[in-house]
């Protein structure tokens, strides 16, 4: 019998103090981490606004001083601005006066931000610089004499950039970004972000009907890749038996799923049998160029999907490159903001190849659709059925990195870290 509490009224909204992890066992994940409002509130405090570096923007999105972008740290709206050649500010998108979320444009270029409600005005660094009628009108009204502009600024985040990627943290105690990523994740990060100047190729946005952590789990779960994604196996992009790895940091919160496409690999009858429905015998692409990998990276891997805790995915799937920015929207949904990019100096042909391969990923991707549907099906399971728990026992002696696809070791390492931070 699972020892997760069955909730009398059928809801999953029990108080956080009453929640306990089943048997203190990392190979079992209780539903309530995906459904509880209280858990999400604690995640906001301790993870997104805690000792974490959150992705907020690419430098390439902000080419000039005064350029800004609406962004998020967790679900908290922020504004990212370029304030100098190599200087960026990140501050809360909330007027210090009455709380208006004052920046409404997705991106743009300004000299200052003016809150539309009472015209409180901020410079591009996020400093309050003007309050209309501060001294009143004809000697009447106005702010108290001692009112100090400097005491009324939107909350500032600390900023750290690496090779064109901008991160923010609210905590003074977050370790330096490179240390936070750890050498294993940094190595994979630097393959895509090597310092080559990025060129933004466009955006997608979708709202997934699942808890934000499910997206991390999905990419820390290479087991599903060979089964759910019929496309991967059928067109030999990823099959059990090919060279692959899950590369984890020491803390266990980040991971990179890596694989090397191997056109020579034979798919034997035993493998076809094991994959059951996941392999369509005899299907060929009409456009054979579609899965061609144009070598451009110093890496043994043709695919790396890095989950960078808590809100960033770096996608390098053949030659389609992108980042995915996770914004939690309550316990049951997340928004995914995708920024697809290439590099300055890409030939027109290379850009076209990236666009073609873009069909693999995203809200209408040959692989993307499968994951979005699976995440919804998971959340439906947690919401609709009696409270229960998931089982993550594959590759039982390991935690963190592994060299087989048939493993859930890096999901377990994530939840070891998560439980410590969340104190659950």
């Amino acid at each position: 019998m699972p020892d997760t509490h069955l909730i009398e009224d059928g809801s999953n909204s029990m108080a956080i103090e009453a929640l306990h992890w089943p048997n203190d066992d990392l190979s079992r994940i209780p539903d309530w981490i995906y459904t509880s409002e209280d858990i999400l509130v604690r995640e906001r405090e301790r993870i997104f606004l805690g000792k974490c570096w959150n992705f907020v923007a690419l430098e390439a999105e902000l080419p000039d001083v005064g350029c800004f972008k609406r962004s998020y740290v967790g679900d908290v709206p922020v504004i990212v601005t370029r304030t100098g050649d190599n200087a960026f500010n990140v501050f809360e998108n909330r007027c210090a006066h009455r709380g208006v979320e004052f920046c409404r444009e997705l991106r743009g270029k300004v000299n200052e931000f003016i809150c539309p409600y009472h015209h409180w005005t901020y410079d591009v660094t996020g400093e309050l610089i003007a309050v209309p009628f501060r001294r009143g009108d004809k000697g009447k009204g106005g702010m108290p004499k001692e009112f100090d502009l400097g005491e009324h600024n939107p909350r500032q985040f600390r900023v750290s950039c690496r090779h064109g990627v901008i991160f923010a943290t609210l905590s003074d105690d977050t370790e330096p970004l490179e240390e936070y990523l750890g050498p294993e994740t940094l190595e994979q990060f630097d393959v895509v972000f090597s310092g080559r100047e990025l060129k933004v190729l466009g955006y997608y946005r979708n709202r997934l009907n699942g808890n934000w952590k499910l997206y991390h789990e999905n990419l820390k779960d290479p087991y599903h890749a060979t089964l759910l994604h019929v496309y991967l196996a059928t067109f030999r992009l990823m099959v059990a038996g090919q060279k692959s790895a899950m590369i984890c940091d020491e803390v266990g919160r980040h991971a990179t799923a890596a694989s090397a496409k191997d056109d020579a690999i034979e798919i034997g009858d035993d493998l076809v049998d094991e994959m059951k429905g996941a392999y369509r015998v005899g299907m060929d692409l009409n456009d054979e160029d579609f899965t061609r990998y144009v070598p451009e990276f110093d890496s043994p891997w043709t695919v790396t999907m890095s989950t960078i805790w808590p809100n960033l995915i770096v996608q390098r799937e053949l030659n389609t490159l992108g980042i995915r920015h996770i914004v939690p929207r309550g316990p049951h949904a997340l928004d995914m903001y995708w920024t697809m990019f290439g590099y300055v100096g890409d030939s027109e042909e290379m850009t076209k190849h990236r666009m073609k391969q873009g069909n693999l990923m995203g809200p209408s991707g040959y692989l993307g659709v499968d994951d979005n549907e699976a995440i919804k099906f998971l959340q439906d399971g947690f919401r609709n059925s009696m409270p229960g728990e998931g089982v993550v026992k594959l590759d039982p002696d390991k935690e963190g990195g592994t060299d087989t696809l048939i493993s859930e070791a890096s999901i377990r390492s994530l939840y070891r870290h998560y439980r410590e931070v969340m104190d659950i």
Partner: protein, 174 residues
């Protein structure tokens, strides 16, 4: 890349020409919509020329001249591969989709004597055991040509959606 193909009209039609073309394009869009509404997906590539370009992209990309598409297809082979993926490999819950295509505007010939047109579209989606919801609102920017048998075909269709935040995912083309 996309801009070149989406060459603007340079020559207007006479009222008679426009009336005749508008009728033909409305019939085309009606059949196109019915094919997608019926999920008769393997018929979908036949609405396009062999060298056609098709893209579904957010208005924020279009407005900035950015090339990405949720769907980005060039040439018959890529159309066939998307159809094959939908029919054989993609995993998704069953759904009904219904297209409403209106405000057909026949703009004129471009410099290659091809017909430029646009139309608004609205797609509503119904998932089983869920209420019907607006899935996507957008505009088709089209270039039509006649094939050898005199039938209208799309040489270019850019589907530019206002609904920036896609609800979960987009399985079928629009």
């Amino acid at each position: 890349m996309t801009k070149e193909r989406g060459r603007p009209p340079v020559e207007k039609f006479s009222e008679d020409e426009r009336r005749a073309l508008r009728f033909k394009i409305e019939e085309f869009n009606t059949e196109y919509s019915a094919t997608l509404d019926d999920q008769d997906i393997h018929r979908w590539p036949s609405f396009f020329t062999n060298d056609a370009f098709y893209r579904v992209t957010a208005k924020e990309n279009f407005d900035q001249g950015l090339p990405v598409g949720l769907v980005w297809l060039e040439g018959r082979a890529m159309f066939l591969d998307r159809v094959a993926a939908i029919e054989n490999t993609m995993v998704f819950a069953p759904r009904y989709l219904r297209h409403y295509v209106t405000n057909v505007d026949v703009l004129g010939f471009n410099d290659a004597q091809e017909i430029c047109a646009k139309a608004n579209y609205l797609i509503v989606e119904t998932l089983m055991e869920d209420s019907t919801k607006i899935f996507q609102a957008g505009i088709y920017q089209d270039i039509f040509v006649y094939d050898e048998s005199g039938c209208l075909k799309l040489k270019f269709r850019d589907c530019i959606y206002d609904s920036l935040l896609i609800p979960n995912d987009m399985v079928f083309p629009v």
